[in-house]
């Protein structure tokens, strides 16, 4: 395996796993704090049990998220020293703030996990809220560092030199808001659906129904609401990509030829050599409308971009289709849940209804990974859009393929362990909380 491909694969793998651990680690504390609040207000023991059970999940995911995050902070340098050398001082601001947020989160988690029966009730609750808030803040800050790679600002690039560096301006680059919004909502919908799905399964199996029903409700309220909001934020992101990264947008849509009434292509198999999409469903004018709010306006296609600056079209297009397809489906499931909640209470206990959520368990994370693929692969061949090529950033140390194999092994083992531990936690619910 080529060192460059190995380094890219290792980075993709590390981020791909970290994104799951960290999304769950930042959203579950919010669920936990809600349940904790309900317990303090109602004194219903079930809520306390749910809070404790979830806090164990939080501890497991925080630990894996923390180590995989530590790994990433090193991997940035180990794999891309050429990038970090120049980018570090420019986009480091969100990282240093993220360090603070992460630190606060670790402190608050220590208070929360070990504070039962020791701390003042409301202070204890507050520490749980801080875990959630600082987790979300960390997420937003890290995404803002990533958005800088898509939309570099806060410096002047003159003759290969990075001058007049302004870290604050770099942090608040044009893309930060849309990316942070999209990612945060995605974290809530993916985690909400995943947690809800697991509890739905337990309700379906008629185990600890009271416990799992309360858990299900908290998780799906967030998941469903986020899934319904997500298309709106997706629209903001797509418009931003059209403006700042036309190559990415064109690859997402497999849109080869610049034209008026630009069509939206749904599905299909892109043929890069022939510059067309086979078997796709074309809706004329819709892409123009989505990007410019006007069916007629011209949208620039891949033909406007030099071949050496084009991202891999097929991967970006497929990933985008998967993300949008699943996202739309989740939105409908979310709407269905609110219909059930307000109009059709009887659905909530029906087998078909529960099965729907059981099947939907992994969907959010599949969409999340697909979306991450779109944003990262769609930026290629650049590591800093338009400024530095990924191939110029890679380490000169040979043999990266071996570290890639090693990391693949580690991440899979780690995930097997996490799934194993969660399974055991759920398995023990009757014994731990049914007293």
């Amino acid at each position: 395996m080529d060192d460059f491909i190995a380094a890219r694969s290792q980075m993709a793998l590390s981020l791909g796993f970290h994104i799951i651990y960290s999304c769950i680690g930042m959203v579950m504390p919010v669920f936990m704090a809600i349940s904790h609040y309900k317990w303090i207000k109602t004194k219903n023991q079930v809520y306390k049990n749910v809070t404790i059970a979830w806090s164990k999940g939080v501890a497991i995911f925080f630990a894996t998220g923390a180590v995989s995050g530590t790994m990433l902070s090193f991997e940035l340098g180990l794999l891309w020293p050429g990038f970090m050398k120049h980018a570090g001082p420019i986009f480091g601001m969100p990282f240093s703030l993220e360090g603070t947020a992460f630190f606060i989160e670790a402190i608050a988690l220590g208070f929360f996990l070990y504070g039962w029966n020791k701390l003042n009730t409301w202070f204890h609750w507050f520490t749980g809220v801080v875990v959630g808030l600082s987790g979300i803040a960390s997420g937003i800050l890290v995404v803002s560092a990533n958005s800088w790679m898509n939309s570099p600002s806060g410096f002047d690039y003159v003759n290969g030199k990075y001058l007049n560096i302004n870290p604050l301006k770099a942090m608040l680059n044009e893309a930060w808001f849309s990316e942070a919004l999209h990612m945060t909502i995605a974290a809530f919908s993916a985690t909400g659906f995943a947690v809800a799905g697991i509890h739905a399964l337990m309700i379906y199996r008629k185990q600890n129904v009271a416990f799992h029903t309360k858990s299900f409700k908290i998780a799906i309220l967030f998941g469903a609401a986020a899934a319904i909001l997500q298309p709106l934020s997706g629209d903001i992101s797509a418009k931003g990509a059209a403006k700042r990264q036309p190559a990415k947008l064109a690859a997402m849509e497999a849109y080869f030829h610049t034209q008026e009434y630009a069509p939206l292509v749904i599905g299909g198999i892109p043929d890069t050599a022939a510059k067309k999409v086979n078997y796709g469903l074309e809706i004329p004018g819709l892409l123009s409308f989505l990007v410019h709010d006007n069916f007629k306006t011209t949208v620039n296609g891949l033909d406007k971009i030099p071949v050496k600056d084009q991202p891999p079209v097929a991967v970006t297009h497929y990933a985008f289709q998967i993300m949008v397809g699943i996202g739309t489906m989740m939105m409908f499931i979310g709407i269905l849940y609110f219909i059930a909640l307000w109009k059709k209470k009887e659905w909530l206990t029906k087998a078909w209804f529960l099965k729907l959520f059981i099947i939907a368990t992994p969907t959010g994370f599949i969409a999340l990974e697909a979306g991450w693929t779109v944003t990262e692969v769609g930026r290629q061949p650049w590591i800093i859009q338009g400024i530095m090529r990924t191939s110029d950033a890679v380490t000169k140390m040979p043999g990266i393929q071996y570290t890639f194999y090693l990391f693949t092994f580690i991440y899979f083992t780690l995930s097997v362990f996490v799934i194993f531990l969660l399974k055991r936690q759920i398995q023990m619910v009757p014994e731990l909380y049914d007293r």
Partner: protein, 336 residues
Amino acid sequence: MLYIVILFLFASITLYFLLGGADFGAGIIELFTSTDNKHRTRKTMYQAIGPIWEANHMWLIITVVILFVGFPDIYSEMCTYLHIPLLILLLGIIARGTAFTFRNYDAIKGERTQNLYNHLFIYSSFVTPMFLGIIAGSALSGQIDPTAKDFAHAYVFSWFNWFSVAVGLFTVALCGFLAAIYIVGETDDVNDIKRYIKKAKVSNIAAVICGGLVFIASEIEHVGLSHWIFGNAISLVAVIAATLSLILLWFIISEKRNRQWIRLLAAFQVSMILISVGATRFPRFVIFKGGGSMSLLADHATSNTINDLGIGLLVGSLFILPALGYLYYSFRWKDR
């Protein structure tokens, strides 16, 4: 502002050593505890480090962030030539962090799984500080050779040499020493206290021996460590202070005396060692074969970045330090 950033860098490294290092030491002590006492020791250790565990390791993140934001050239050189030891360090961090949490949060405490977590925890507690020491030793000893033509000289012998390995062992011994001293104050059982004091003394002797090894290795590799230390006033004072505190420690360590003082003394001693090393090479942070070096005062990011980083760190510490202080107070002080 540059000096504030450098101060934060050294403070983070020191705190990581004193707090995270003691966590590593907890695993090292476990490794050298007889099977009969392992369970008790583990329980005491867990009570001691459970609530503050994650926070202790955040200092490493802060260190790394300061390096790559403020000193990107130094960071990328280290990442390139010390890729392999950094990788092994990472493996240790992953295994430790997860094993520690997993053994506590596995809902079913099965013997085989617990054994697996314990083994992972114990061995990674040894490997991680070992490689931290190796990385520090390699960066400061002038073994990194950017002109090397082959893989082994560029990426292996930069860290795989007598001096770096000796520093690694010395680091492990110091971590064990810190943990042993800290844990003396964690229990009220007289037998346990006696046992831990013995451990503290043994690990202290081990640290002194490893320290000697570092000097011997420095002669073998022509690092010139004694020359550095005796040629620099601050280092010399720090080394003398460390030695005096060592002697004092041996005098006052006992079952009945104020055990908080012993902790402070041990922490002081280790800090003095770090200061002595830092001062000899300051402002150089990475030294290459043939005498070239990278300096904290020269190879830093532009002043805009350093200013913003410094402000970020100052503001961050306004949040972190009180919260951290209260965490320690709530779980480490109020309880006893």
